[in-house]
Amino acid sequence: MKFIMNYIRKETWSPYVAGVLLGLVGISAVWISNSLLGASGAYENIAGMIGKAVAPKLFDNMYFNFIMPPGMTIAVVLLIGIFFGGMAGAATSRTLKWGKKESLNSDGQWKRIFGAQTWKRWALAFIGAIILEYSAGIAGGCTSGLAISGGMLLAPAAFLFIAGMFASGILTALIIYRKNY
């Protein structure tokens, strides 16, 4: 018992142990609630909800009416759970930096490559997130929604997605890091 408690307090687990935990979560998602895990769809649900309230004409199209219906879906609740679960994980390893200034831009490797300014980190995160969400809309899911939960059902779509993701990810990293690759 003490061994388990100590292991929970560790900052980074072996990725294999954490992977087994995620695998069990994936099984129970299908078993208990007959749904798949996914994160990016929830943002579209929320965006649809806001959009329908602000500009109903603009959002009255195929995509937001049928493919990604707005509202408090299970995916949104799951996203809230992910947020608090991540916080709990950080709290148990005492790396939770709630409201501290250094947490705005804490990654040493990032600072070495792009510079130490905080606004750069936030601006690039914003632009990158737009790219992520847009492409997740095209492909029909993100890393969790398509690659992991599609992969565990052996969907061909998931493996195409993983292949594309790594191909362009490696290329982008090559361009960003150049000499330091």
């Binding site: 954490a18 992977g19 798949l36 992910i82 991540g86 709990a88 690659a147 992969g151």
Partner: protein, 93 residues
């Protein structure tokens, strides 16, 4: 209503495992593209293998019915993945 509670708990464990594997850090995600730290691949593939074998065993026993499997659009999935990789390497999602 109970469905929402289940989703909240499952999401909690999902976030917990992501955090413990270090996938909430920028350097972990980018280093997998630089081949210096393969934690992301180890994590993802372990999760895939565990859930894959569990789900297919449960289906073989007749305990579950698969939900709708993500549909295949060869061009859409590949192009989506290609653009996704750019965003992933930039932000560390």
């Amino acid at each position: 209503m109970s469905n929402y509670f289940v989703a909240l708990v499952l999401g909690g464990f999902f976030g917990f495992s992501l955090n413990k594997a270090g996938l909430t850090k920028y350097n972990k995600i980018v280093n997998v593209f630089r081949f210096t730290d393969m934690a992301v691949l180890q994590f993802m593939m372990t999760a895939l293998v565990v859930s894959m074998s569990g789900l297919f065993a449960l289906r073989g026993l007749g305990l579950i019915v698969f939900p709708s499997i993500p549909s295949t659009y060869i061009v859409g999935n590949t192009i989506g993945g290609l653009i996704f990789g750019i965003g992933m390497a930039l932000t560390g999602f």
